[in-house]
């Protein structure tokens, strides 16, 4: 607890969620890290708002497309891709899907339990870039051409790729996919900005 000024005017700022802890069946604690937090007094509260939505008509997947689905995620980029996998499941789709998911360490893997549940039809491949736990059988290190060549649907199967994550990750992966024969119009990208 640092400064304790009472703000005269409320200003909205974007804050990263740094942790979520389930307290009870109906209560969750969400820890937020706003970049310009001026400090507060014990007992004060915040207004929190979600941005409006749903937004977007480009980086979307519908089960009517039966192309093999290639999802490639860097860090929090897995969020919209996981939504696609959930939709695929709910729609009873049998479109073959693969998710290549890059995270720093095992605790950084979001939706881990859920990803472990996917059976046949969805192949989940994880790579840990910073450190791996003992007995780790997944990939290690950053996504590179060799890893992509081993894990993505071959271009000959006319897959549809969605790549999401930090800007540099997305651009490197997209470039590699083009090198592996994916037409650029079959690679959809969403860049989240800095690492």
């Amino acid at each position: 607890m640092e400064t304790t000024a009472v703000r005269r005017r409320l200003t909205w700022q974007a804050a990263a969620v740094t942790s979520i802890a389930r307290e009870t069946a109906s209560v969750v604690t969400i820890e937020l890290e706003p970049p310009d937090w001026p400090g507060h007094l014990a007992g004060q509260h915040l207004d929190v708002r979600l941005t409006a939505g749903p937004i977007g008509g480009y980086f979307v997947w519908e089960p009517t497309d039966d192309s093999p689905l290639m999802l490639i995620a860097g860090g929090s980029g897995v969020v919209p891709l996981r939504s696609m996998l959930r939709h695929r499941l709910r729609a009873g789709s049998d479109v073959p899907a693969r998710l290549l998911y890059s995270s720093r360490t095992l605790p950084d893997v979001i939706y881990r339990g859920e990803l472990d549940q996917y059976g046949d039809g969805v192949r989940v491949i994880c790579t840990l870039t910073r450190s791996q736990p003992p007995g780790w059988t997944g990939y290690s290190g950053r996504v590179n051409t060799a890893m992509l060549a081993e894990t993505v649907w071959p271009a000959s199967q006319h897959p549809l790729a969605f790549v999401c994550g930090p800007t540099t990750f997305v651009e490197a992966v997209a470039e590699n996919l083009i090198g592996l024969g994916y037409p650029s119009e079959r690679i959809k990208t969403e860049r989240f900005g800095g690492t």
Partner: protein, 89 residues
Amino acid sequence: MDAVDGNAIGGLLIDVFGTEMTAANSTCGTCGTGRPVAELVVYRRAPGTVVRCRTCGSVLMVFVKVHGVTCVDLDGLASLSQLVARGDS
């Protein structure tokens, strides 16, 4: 500041154009390359929002909010086209 892409300004574009625009096709007025708005290079808080062609780097769109009014500069675009949704005239 790391660039993002047109997906990140989906909400802003709805405010400005009144409809979803990330899947709309843009044509650069400088190099003529066409691509979906979602694939353009976007810098936020540049100040304002600046959208550039991914091929030649030219500025295509600038959005600046001044006194509650959003100023829109589309001078760099040769064209912007959107499929009309079924049911619209």
